[in-house]
């Protein structure tokens, strides 16, 4: 019997340019990059240097505090560049790809006959481990922990997301294999899969507790699903992993080859042909989409690796983030706008808003919107109350949690439930904030403070 949970709070932001249900292979990217800033909590220690040749699956760098967590190259080729930012922080390790990949053979593993140790070691060795995240803190998991449970969200509810049915088409055997591996790691009954109501993709999957979720975004966020099934208490650790990575994990264990496949939704109002494309982690953006020089309204084009609500701003020469399954092209909106025609005095028929102060709420629910990256106002103190609660499906007081983070009150943060959340869970709060407060950044800072404080 699977449980059915209805998420009532939240909102689906329908953007123009969603991809259809077809998938095609992206052209091979010239370079692939693994970017340490994608992995929260990582302090990278390089294994390779510029000019080295690597095979696909070879480790590029490892976690300084735990050398067993290795970060692997998605392709074979030559390390073309190691980009550094401020304080010589490593921003990106770029590999120039060979025409065809040669792989390191890690050897296949029969999961049913292996112990937890064997499975875990294989995952660590082959560089699959960084795809595990953990709650609390929303960072890369630690192999020393025995997680209370492992949670997989079977769908992505964010705007312009890839469809799981498309991404997993023909990969259900790998997915099942991956779930079996997770069951080894979390113990019997420890794997939880969140399924979208009405989605039959996972009907034949066994070995995990399935829970059906219906309702608007963020119903697909794994944090929301954990909160509504088995909330994280103080002192507990749960692991999370994306559904595509479960299939990759299954494929890795049965073949012994590290192939971090990614089905990416290339979408957005400035994307001429929205589509699902199959590529590898870290592919160059230009290999996925031709970026127009200017948006249809004459603005510049914003390229986002990941969801428009949580992703990173990148350039066409930039690379797909390791966890990202979408690339969105949106207009920048960097031109000042006259208040009466397009600003705060307008009727706002074209301004999608969670509040009903613009008339856009009278438009049909199915309407798609072209949104740009303009802030839509200036940052202010917290004034309006109750608006975060409308899109925050947790039994947590979001504004009070944020305020406890702002004043660095660790005791209050704990009490108010910071262990259950990650920045992405606050993305809609940030979207709809009247005072334009950088909510996700605040949550990230709070989590980081707590993590260093607790050692």
């Amino acid at each position: 019997m699977s449980q059915n949970i209805k998420i009532r709070k939240g909102v689906d932001i329908r953007l123009v340019g969603t991809p259809g249900d077809t998938i095609s292979a992206a052209k091979r990217s010239k370079t692939y990059a693994i970017q340490p800033p994608n992995f929260e909590g990582l302090t990278p220690k390089l294994i390779v240097k510029e000019g080295d040749t690597v095979k696909a699956g070879a480790s590029l760098f490892f976690e300084k505090k735990n050398p067993s967590i290795r970060y692997a190259s998605p392709v074979s080729g030559k390390v073309a560049a190691i980009l550094r930012g401020e304080k010589r922080r490593i921003m990106s390790v770029i590999v120039e790809a060979d025409a065809t990949d040669s792989y390191i053979d890690y050897g296949s593993l029969d999961i049913s006959k292996s112990s937890r140790e064997e499975v875990l070691n294989k995952i660590l060795e082959g560089g699959m481990f960084p795809f595990f995240g953990q709650r609390p803190f929303g960072v890369v998991a630690s192999p020393e922990d025995f997680p209370r449970s492992i949670h997989v969200s079977g769908f992505d509810s964010s705007p312009l997301a890839a469809h799981n049915s498309v991404a997993l088409d023909g990969r259900m055997k790998d997915f099942q294999n991956g779930i079996n591996a997770l069951a080894k790691l979390a113990g019997e009954g420890g794997v939880h899969l969140g399924v979208k109501a009405g989605d039959s993709t996972y009907d034949k999957i066994e070995g995990c507790t399935k829970t059906t979720f219906s309702g608007p975004h963020p119903a697909g966020n794994v944090g929301v699903q954990i909160h509504h099934t088995l909330p994280v208490n103080k002192g507990e650790v749960v692991w999370t992993i994306g559904y595509q990575d479960v299939a990759n994990l299954g494929a890795f264990l049965s073949s012994g080859k590290y192939v971090p496949s990614r089905t990416v939704s290339v979408a957005g109002s400035e994307c001429s042909a929205p589509a699902h494309l199959n590529t590898l982690v870290g592919a160059e953006i230009a290999s996925l989409v031709e970026v127009p020089s200017e948006a249809s309204n004459g603005d510049a084009v914003r390229i986002i690796s990941g969801s428009p609500l949580t992703g990173d701003k990148v350039e066409a020469e930039g690379h797909l983030g390791s966890y990202h399954t979408a690339v969105a092209l949106l207009p920048e909106g960097n031109e000042p706008r006259f208040i009466i025609s397009k600003g705060w005095l307008s009727l706002g028929l074209d301004r999608f808003s969670i509040s009903k102060s613009y008339l856009s709420w009278m438009m049909p629910k199915s309407k798609s919107w072209t949104l740009d990256t303009n802030m839509g106002g200036e940052e202010r103190a917290f004034v309006v109350t109750g608006e975060y609660e409308k899109v925050f499906p947790f039994d947590i007081y979001p504004v009070h949690l944020l305020k406890s983070i702002l004043v660095n009150d660790i005791d209050s943060m704990e009490k108010l439930g910071i262990y259950e959340v990650a920045p992405e869970d606050f993305a809609l709060c940030e979207y709809g904030c009247t005072s334009k407060i950088p909510v996700q950044q605040i949550v990230r800072e709070g989590l980081d403070t707590l993590r260093t404080e607790l050692g």
Binding site: P308, G377, V439
Partner: protein
């Protein structure tokens, strides 16, 4: 509008760092952002943002205040002409003009003094100007008696903005409602003027008294006495303060508070746009009705015996409920807390009004009191949430 944009662009360098007028950057910036939503773009986090900002929020409240403001203007004229022979037959325009003559200077003084102080503080602290006073500046004239001297308004606004808001750090940080602080200041500093009979503007020295003022006279009197029955008669159907007149608002009172209907139009705007909290408004209403009913049952004096529905359309109850209690900064911030806060606010409004006729305007005292209590209510609501979490920890 390209022209305006160009003009702003051409004077901008003078206000920027190193320019001649850089001291006035805050003023320039706020005027610029008032005409053009700036081209600021997101950098991280959520790349797309909602169109709503504080300017829109405050603007929506102003729109919601317009019915009360316009009716108030007309009512000033209407009350005024009642002291003139009927042959004068003033038209609608005449009445509104009399009202405008009184109200517009009040609004100008309120905004002038308030925004002056806001700009000064923003300049001193070098932060952007918050839009909060746009609403406060409109609320203050609407809760004044029509003939209040302008200098008193100026002093009250200055007090409210400085002591009520800026000392706490500006918009979003204040503990008590700014507009009510102004009103309370006048009430205690110039009680004679505020509780005196200055509610109708007329040149001949005739005076009007508010319904609540009249009712207050009955307290402590023998219920069968002439004074009481004289007052009570005024509330009978067809008389000056009957429920229809009180609902429509053709009675003396503060400028914006008399018409329950105009205020309710504002309430509809606030609730339908989601800007005003329906939780606070509805529970405030219920709180007032419950207290009114309790008084009915006690029935110790004529005031208590007033029909609860009549009770809540009199005085500032409605205005306080829709525009004052719902101030998000000073109300409770939790949704559960809003119900408690609203209910107690309405409850105490009627209680103070009847029990302490020295304060005929119980709503003001009740809301200020609840503003102070709001953090306490929130504390207990949040504590309940924390306890739920702790309990979960213990059971697992």
């Amino acid at each position: 509008m390209k022209f305006i944009q160009k003009m702003i662009g051409s004077v901008k360098p003078h206000f920027e760092e190193g320019g001649k007028l850089s001291k006035f950057w805050v003023v320039f910036d706020s005027l610029e952002t008032f005409t053009f939503t700036p081209g600021h773009v997101t950098h991280s986090g959520s790349h797309i943002r909602d169109g709503i900002d504080l300017k829109r929020t405050m603007f929506t409240v102003i729109v919601a205040l317009l019915p009360a403001l316009l009716f108030g203007m007309w009512n000033i004229g209407d009350q005024h002409f009642q002291y003139f022979p009927a042959e004068l037959a003033p038209t609608l325009i005449d009445k509104v003009l009399i009202g405008a003559q009184k109200v517009i200077p009040l609004i100008m003084v309120s905004y002038g003094v308030g925004l002056g102080i806001e700009f000064t503080f923003a300049g001193l602290r070098n932060h952007a100007i918050n839009e909060g006073f746009l609403v406060s500046g409109m609320l203050i004239p609407l809760i004044m008696p029509v003939d209040v001297p302008l200098w008193m308004v100026a002093v009250a606004v200055a007090f409210a903005v400085i002591i009520g808001k800026e000392v706490f750090g500006g918009t979003g940080m204040n503990i008590i409602n700014v507009a009510l602080t102004a009103r309370a200041f006048l009430f205690f500093a110039y009680p004679k003027q505020m509780s005196g009979e200055i509610w109708v503007h007329n040149p001949d020295g005739n005076t009007g008294a508010t319904a609540l003022g009249k009712l207050a006279e009955t307290v402590g009197q023998d219920i069968d006495s002439d004074i009481v029955s004289g007052v009570v008669q005024k509330f009978y159907y067809g008389s000056e303060f009957d429920i229809v007149n009180s609902l429509i608002g053709t009675i003396p009172g503060s400028i914006g508070e008399t018409s329950a209907i105009a205020i309710l139009i504002g309430a509809v705007i606030l609730i339908s746009t989601g800007i005003g909290s329906w939780r606070i408004m509805s529970s405030f209403l219920v709180g007032g009705l419950v207290m009114g009913l309790i008084f009915n049952l006690l029935g110790l004096n004529a005031y208590m015996l007033l029909n609860p529905l009549h009770q809540i359309v009199l005085g500032g109850f409605m205005f306080g409920m829709v525009f004052m209690a719902t101030d998000p900064v000073t109300a409770t911030s939790t949704n559960t807390g809003k119900f408690i806060y609203g209910f107690l606010g309405g409850f105490f409004s009627i209680m103070i009004r009847v029990f302490n006729p020295a304060y005929p305007e119980g709503v003001m005292m009740a809301i200020l009191f609840m503003n102070v209590m709001a953090p306490l209510i929130d504390h207990y609501v949040i504590q309940a949430n924390i306890n739920r979490r702790l309990k979960r920890l213990k059971t697992t």
